[in-house]
Point group: C2
Chain length 193, copies 2
DNA sequence: ACGAAACGGAACCGATCGGTACCGAATCGA
DNA sequence: TCGATTCGGTACCGATCGGTTCCGTTTCGT
């Protein structure tokens, strides 16, 4: 049932809303960038807000797949999520997290798009719980997600992957049993000049 | 030189932009809520964006004072910042951090308001470095700020002070020397029903 | 008491907002 | 090949956007 126009719209929405913000990008711009006619837009989506919701569902799927993949590629080491995050931050045009940005831009808790944004973070939490099937502190998944979000926001300001490495170091301290004195402290990022 | 109208505008801007978002609140609304005339507005601020910048400068001052106070009241314990944060989150109308929200809503790095938002976080970092005058890991202030930001964003979604307590627990693990086995694990928040 | 400065209200501006209605062309399944 | 569906383009809608201008009143220092 999905057509080409619908996919193009969702892709353009992902690019534009992420890069410039939801309220900052009008429908006009969306149509020009995607090459979709105005009528076609409203044939596929009841409103701009529903396009945001659809874009977020696509983002959710992409990011959860990414998380599974990056951790699996590291042999199941959950710390790999922060290494992958550093790569994402280094990519040009990086601007944090589409879900966080939406929750900031849309205050109304009943807004459909905002609900999808909230659900994304909850799905990420479930994904983390699944990844950590070994015995672990009951609060660890929430802690990792807090570090993940903290790194995302910090990198929004610093414009560098350093926060991901910082979050990784903190997570490492949470994961390793705290009874190995004498280990040399982890290297610290040099100040970015 | 500051007049009454200017102060009222900054206060209304703090309330409205924080509660509903910068782009979501028009100048019209600002004027109605503050009782300031349209002409008076543009006599004090060259643009809406400059009001946002002024509001953020006021926010910066308020939050840095708050940070100093809450830590001093706890006898200098930096962990108190997370206790204070939990209180802030419990307040009605809490919606994260004005600086983070601005950085999300305004993508242009050269925008004056965004610059003020970035400077706020750097000022918070300096404040943290001042607070931690005892010998500490060189990266600790950045780590504490990452936890602070992570908690702020997480609470935006969870709508509860739990993330502040979670961040506090992580910070505690970073602060205390890691050679005291056998201590009972810190209590974990029950799931919010 | 008086002049200057700051004020609130309203009319007005072009631009853009999200959304609707109708068009003719392209596409596609049977 | 033909009919149905999907498409892109455009004109149009009322509302609101940020911003300018003028006017009459209130406030305040002296």
């Amino acid at each position: 049932m999905p057509t080409r126009a619908r996919e193009r719209l969702i892709e353009a929405a992902g690019d534009l809303f992420f890069a410039e913000g939801i309220h900052a990008v009008g429908v006009e711009r969306l149509l020009r960038e995607s090459g979709v006619g105005r009528a076609s837009f409203y044939r596929h989506f009841a409103s701009k807000d529903e396009l945001v919701a659809a874009m977020l569902r696509s983002y959710d799927e992409e990011l959860r797949g990414w998380l599974r993949r990056v951790v699996a590629d590291a042999g199941g080491d959950p710390l790999a999520m922060f290494d992958g995050l550093a790569d994402r931050m280094a990519a040009s045009g990086f601007r944090g997290c589409a879900s966080i940005n939406t929750m900031v831009e849309i205050a109304d808790p009943d807004d459909p798009a905002r609900k999808v944004a909230v659900e994304h973070k909850e799905a990420m939490l479930r994904e983390l719980r699944r990844l950590l099937d070994a015995p672990y502190d009951a609060d660890l998944p929430e802690q990792l997600l807090l570090l993940f979000d903290g790194a995302l926001v910090s990198s929004l300001r610093e414009r560098s992957p350093a926060p991901a490495r910082r979050a990784r170091r903190i997570a490492q301290a949470l994961l390793e049993p705290p009874m190995q004195p004498g280990l040399p402290p982890t290297e610290v990022d040099p100040p970015t000049p």
